[in-house]
Symmetry: C2
Subunit: 506 residues, 2 copies
């Protein structure tokens, strides 16, 4: 029988089950011992979100996922499926349709659905049993997005800004890339508040209205970049495919975010500096615990780190797609820390225990090809991505008579300014410094990208009409950090922080 | 006649000179017009440090260096040579003995020494004329250094820590690398004070005794690294030799520095926050203006940047060789900003105008092969090195029975912690995470290196006694900055910030 990964508490529960008892035959009867326990649908349906033991059905197999719920990257959303079939949810959340996810589920297998409850296809026909899963599409209220965005997945929406729209310093809201893990929650701004939970267990609540009324507003020009930006380029490198959405250069946009400084609100909410111990963390959590991550508390407290509770974007109320009515803004950090639909802020001695903090956003050396090769100790050794390394890309190449005009961006995390941008028109043999465009970025440090231009002679104006030119960009930040020449040395199985030189052939 | 680079003021002065008048013959007499003006030694000797026009002799040529003095990288030391021959000084400061320096001097040539004052070798015999240059060796009082240091130049002393002494977390004072531009000044700690000069021209002075008596002492564990560390490795790369001292891995050491916080002393000295404009700079200057550089004022004012006025090193009074009685300590920045023998602190709207700020410490792309290829605009575009990028090295490889034990360091600027150290025993094909050693580094951020160890099987324990193994190290900091795989993409003609993977073959 398959009970791998099921704890002792679950085993006790299983012993009370009728079919399990049936299974307790002498071991000599090999065939019967190996047969998985069979469960009737009437029994399965009792193990719903309200039961102590929570089961789901996938295909015709039954899984006790009680012990997994806390580890579910999507939070408590998984409870919706308990007592029924998980398949319709995976049809919505298609991100689950990959072998790694099935492998995790398989650890919790406890048996199969009794043949009496299966249809001719070998699947559970819930409707005929009067136990139909009333799956409501939670994405039905998602906003309609601009058709120019390049959609990687529709539900949840993951859509990047096309390269030619990355040429304006401030990205219009409708063109700002969208990176959602779930549907867009509908939150009434007038009713919204944030609960603060301190390390000593004390709690307090500050409403969004109070924030707007009682604190000095602050505007910061920040570039947000998904940790997986340019993953497509890493996947196309010799080490091969990486796992995740295959973003091009557009999982990255820039806006003016307005809100209140988190350090100000923390004080008002009851936080006292004297309570601070070193190495504390501050967690940002979306409603329903669907998403929770953390940053070092020192980052939130530093007056020059510009961490905001943001309610406006480019001068307008923050739209639901971008975290409205309230999101965290952690400039200079990977966008995953700027939690949308912020509902709870927790100060803790430990970083967030969630998937997006402890697992998803860590880069292993290229000799490790999948998560299964990594031991727990090595996971723990590595730090989660917070500040990001130097990045650059070419966003536009246009010809005009005998000239080629290049445009692009360069950016570094941690508030580090871009100080040099090299562009090559011969595949990287020779380099020229690009012209840096003026801008009026706001903030204590350099949180926004730097746009650049460079003009070269048009090689096609020569007699050789077939001539090709490979254009390359690489940038240097004010700590003289550089981008790697190629993906060999930074390749990681999750395809994160793909910041090798960007090459385009014309 | 050769008067290139000499301003109009100088020309006026020249017109008053007898030999110059001799030169004002009709242009038709080509031979005479081209003959350089000749000066008697009695005349030259009047143009000493006290004269309006300051001349030096190099070989048998005469130079009016009045306009150059302010730009002299070594500050006013050059005045010592005025009115006489510069050669004996260049014999002491051997750093001048290179074509680039001679090229600069050539711009100021105004004529030759009259033949009457030259000996049979065609050189000025100052002694026979009773005008001997009384050149006293300014290095005569330099301290005697530990014989284990690897000396690159003796005068000024530039000596690195040998690799096997880089394996202790705190470097003993006597083994701490020495990077001096001049001789070690002898300064009485009891008489020493720092003059503060604010942007509005106000000045005030704080004595070292006052600092010690009136401010909270602070200890910071900081790694100092010369911008040229590992230049030797860059010079050995395909792009070829770079200019400067050919340091191996030891222009880098770590100590506990104790002093007072600059931000505290600034307030006491009369600095008011309200006077601050953005983008101001704070200059650190050694006595006699021999060395002056700057950092952003915001860095000095931030309480977590730990910028110190340091008077102790590893618990002892700061030795003269390391800047005693008082030096700046700017942790996380290249060591060039931690000015020794600190005498003056200036707040200014501009960064320091000196050579070590505006010229020496900038990295151009590898396609630029010398300073002469760089136009002034491109120099200005580039930022001077301040915070440094991620670095690592192998400091020790030892065999023990069937194992190979590696030790090394990894470090990043800006207070960024090292979060992953990869070590390879097969030239970089496969990588293992190294073990990070515990330590008790002090400071608001991570200002000290991280020591690591890694054990591999001994390849020589196999039957093949000739087998070679190439060991490689590379590190990742907490912003996921990485080191370049090789020097191709970071090569710069000055050989700065050589932080490619470190390789050793055994």
């Amino acid at each position: 029988m398959v009970v791998a990964g099921v704890g002792s508490g679950t085993l006790l529960q299983l012993h009370e089950h009728e079919d399990w008892e049936t299974d307790q035959k002498p071991e000599s009867t090999t065939q019967t011992t190996d047969a998985p326990p069979r469960f009737r649908v009437s029994e399965i349906s009792k193990h719903d979100r309200h039961a102590a033991e929570k089961w789901v059905v996938c295909g015709a197999k039954v899984y006790n996922i009680t012990d997994f719920i806390e580890a579910h990257p999507g939070g408590e959303v998984i409870l919706r499926a308990c007592g029924g079939s998980i398949d319709p949810y995976w049809n919505i959340f298609t991100i689950h349709k990959k072998p790694e996810v099935k492998e995790i589920l398989d650890q919790y297998e406890i048996g199969t659905v009794s043949p009496e409850d299966l249809n001719s296809d070998g699947l559970v026909d819930w409707s005929s049993l009067g136990l139909e899963n009333h799956v409501q599409d939670p994405f039905s209220q998602d906003p309609i997005r601009d058709e120019r965005l390049i959609v990687h997945t529709a539900k949840p929406c993951n859509a990047e800004t096309p390269a030619d729209l990355l040429t304006s310093f401030i990205t219009p809201i409708k063109h700002f890339f969208v990176r959602n893990h779930l549907w867009v929650p509908q939150i009434d701004p007038d009713q919204h508040s944030v609960t603060f939970e301190f390390a000593d267990g004390e709690e307090s609540t500050v409403s969004l209205s109070d924030m707007k009324a009682n604190f000095e507003p602050c505007t910061v020009t920040a570039t947000l970049q998904c940790s997986g930006n340019r993953r497509k380029h890493m996947s196309n490198s010799p080490n091969g495919k990486t796992s995740g959405l295959q973003w091009d250069i557009g999982a990255m946009s820039t806006a003016n975010f307005t809100g209140v400084r988190l350090c100000d609100v923390l004080k008002e909410a009851g936080y006292e500096d004297s309570k601070t111990e070193t190495d504390q963390h501050i967690h940002f959590t979306a409603p329903g615990d669907t998403y929770s991550v953390s940053i070092p508390l020192s980052q939130a407290l530093s007056p020059t780190s510009d961490v905001l509770l943001a309610y406006e974007m480019n001068g307008e109320a923050l739209t639901p797609d971008h975290g409205g009515p309230l999101r965290a803004l952690v400039p200079g950090f990977t966008a995953a820390r700027s939690v949308k639909w912020l509902g709870r802020i927790t100060i803790s001695d430990e970083e967030s225990a969630g998937q997006y903090q402890r697992r998803d956003y860590k880069c292993f050396p290229s000799s490790i090809k999948s998560a299964s090769e990594v031991c727990a100790e090595d996971w723990d050794k590595l730090q989660s991505i917070q500040e990001t390394p130097v990045q650059s890309a070419i966003t536009s190449i246009s010809k005009q008579a005998d000239q080629i005009h290049l445009k692009g961006f360069a950016f570094s995390g941690g508030g580090r300014a871009i100080t040099r941008i090299d562009v090559s028109n011969d595949g990287g043999n020779t380099w020229k410094q690009a012209e840096i465009q003026d801008n009026d970025a706001k903030g204590s440090k350099r949180w926004a990208w730097t746009l650049w231009t460079k003009t070269f002679p048009n090689p096609c104006s020569s007699s050789d009409a077939d001539s090709k030119a490979e254009y390359v960009v690489r940038a240097v930040d004010d700590s003289y950090n550089t981008q790697p020449e190629n993906f060999d040395c930074i390749w990681n199985f999750r395809g994160l922080l793909a910041n090798a030189w960007h090459r385009l052939t014309v």
